[in-house]
Amino acid sequence: MTREETLNELKTVIAPYTMNKEMLNSINDQTDLIRDLKINSANLVDIIIDAEAKYDIEIDYDSADKMINVGSCLDVITEKLNQK
């Protein structure tokens, strides 16, 4: 799976939780989940659980801690997919 394909799937994971739907179409590696996409911190666990289900991966505590922007989310997902 290319990074762009992973990004497109990640958008569907994030979409239910963002209050900034317009920005979802133009996200990039630097886009911050809380500051830019206006995702409440209480929904970050939802995103991790949904990503685990979407990609059939397990995201451990250390990896979850890194998932603060789109780029770090893609890095974690790619790393876990490569470990399968």
Partner: protein, 217 residues
């Protein structure tokens, strides 16, 4: 350095069924905290309330410590709640105050690395609200909770600042105080353009906003 941290979770905005799933709550509470729940709290507080109470305490701890260590990353599994005491009196607490009537609130002790902090929490039918302090007393902690008209992010942020400003004005009527943001993103209070040493924390979720600030150690 004194600090403060608070958080609010609106109960109608959480997914109860999902919260009760092990793969979900396992991202928020540790094995020792689940054991604490099973041994002491099951039957007295629903699991979903315990999970989100834990979250609100841990988020408050993060906000408290981020003021001291700005590069800190929020890592709920590493913030460990070692004790929770339930209220002995179930009357309502009100929505603003200075300090707490300890009989009416949940009390906890929390560790993160070398830090030990203490919390006071309110659980109502609508929300869970927590505040933390480095000492197990809160008589110099001011706090408030308010229902707002819209959950839009811009409105939440503005409503939280207005709410806090109103409270500050009642305490310091002669001062022109403004709420601003530090370069690291946490809120600060400005007087004549300079930051004053009253740490403040803001929180919002869904239709509620909240604040805490610490007047002295």
């Amino acid at each position: 350095m004194i600090s403060t941290g608070n958080d609010i979770v609106v109960l109608k905005a959480i997914n109860i069924a999902r919260t009760r799933q092990g793969n979900f709550y396992g991202k928020i509470i540790s094995v020792s905290e689940k054991d604490l729940y099973d041994r002491q709290l099951a039957g007295r507080i629903p699991l979903e309330n315990f999970v989100w109470l834990s979250w609100s305490i841990k988020e408050s701890v993060y906000k408290y410590l981020q003021r001291i260590t700005p590069e800190l990353i929020f890592s709920p599994a590493r913030i460990i709640i070692s004790q929770i005491l339930l209220p002995s009196d179930h009357r309502a607490t009100g929505l603003e105050g200075r300090g707490f009537n300890d009989a009416l609130v949940y009390k906890s002790a929390v560790t993160f690395g070398d830090h030990t902090l203490y919390s006071r929490s309110i659980i109502s039918e609508e929300f869970i609200f927590s505040v933390v302090n480095h000492a197990d007393h809160f008589e110099h902690t001011c706090w408030g909770i308010r229902l707002i008209s819209s959950p839009e992010p811009a409105h939440q942020s503005e409503a939280a600042r207005v709410f806090l400003t109103e409270r500050l004005h009642t305490l310091f009527p002669a001062d022109q105080l403004l709420i601003s943001k530090s370069p690291h993103g946490y809120p600060v209070i400005l007087k004549n353009g300079a930051q004053i040493p009253i740490p403040v924390s803001l929180a919002h979720h869904d239709h509620y906003v909240a604040y805490s600030f610490q007047l002295k150690d």
